[in-house]
Symmetry: C2
Subunit: 149 residues, 2 copies
DNA sequence: CTGGAAAAGTCAATAGTGTTGACCTATTAT
DNA sequence: ATAATAGGTCAACACTATTGACTTTTCCAG
């Protein structure tokens, strides 16, 4: 029998299993740093995600944030209330359409966000420096392909 | 002021933010395929992780599995019971030390595992083929560095 | 042979994250 | 006026995981 082009032999299968495991363990490690900082503040990973996307998209509407996060408004409700109460996120009524609420990080919120994501950025920056710019570019290409956007 | 070697300017910061988002969205996409298959069988992501690691480590003890998964035995208990009841995993007392239970996939379990991880392997194999072997190697190097093992 | 440690199993309480469904107000657009 | 949109909230439920407490079985060292 001729070997098919898309055939995955047992050697290749083992290599691919290695890739699956890398995804699993790398992601776990990637999120562990911020998790520890958050814990000390009585916050969780959701809060980091909210802070991150509000920080990158100042003035974003609640509905926009829900879309990016891929969750329901009910799931966003509780953690968002905490962030508002802790004055880490600011909510203001939009001038043009008073139904819409614009979200922004407060100075404190930006500071916390920076300490959370900054840790991840420094980690990634350091290891990108080790592997070199070509490897960084290749990594991005693969991740982009996986994310499929 | 001279620019520090490890200084992250705003351009670099934006690039690194892109990397953080790639991690987030790629991981989400990566897990979504198996999640859909599992849902149809009334199983969840935990079950996939168990099936995967038992499949890669036939004869592994319960304590070994707990260690790899990084969870407590209580967290493992319920999903494992389901898998045993559904005859997807087989549990046998070790001959040398009768305290230890050895875990193995049944034929059915191996088949389900293969349809779950197989989907991920085929996806990864296809996109590795697109980006080429050098990019694949670079991706592995970065993920290895992130996982830090 | 006895007592401690190891492997496994189970129950209960709690927490975090998320869902669907149902309802509500305020505001905008037709 | 009415329907649609944006947002908020409550309740019920599900999944994943934790800590703590306790049990059984088995092994090993003194």
């Amino acid at each position: 029998m001729a070997k098919k082009v898309n055939d995955i032999d047992s050697i290749r299968e083992a290599e691919l299993n290695g890739a699956l495991e890398l995804f699993h363990f790398a992601y776990r490690e990637f999120t562990s740093g911020p998790d520890r900082i958050l814990e000390a503040k009585g916050l969780q990973r959701v809060h980091h995600r909210i802070l991150y996307f509000v920080g990158r998209n100042p003035g974003i509407a609640v509905s926009g944030l829900i879309e990016i996060l891929g969750v329901t408004k009910q799931a966003l409700n509780a953690p968002m209330r905490q962030l508002l109460e802790m004055k880490l996120v600011d909510m203001q009524t939009n001038g043009e359409d008073r139904r819409v609420r614009e979200l922004r990080l407060t100075t404190q919120g930006a500071s916390l966000e920076s300490s959370l994501s900054g840790l991840q950025r420094r980690n990634m920056n350091a290891l990108f420096a080790k592997v070199g710019p070509q490897a960084e570019e290749a990594w991005r290409a693969v991740m982009q392909a996986v994310a499929g956007r």
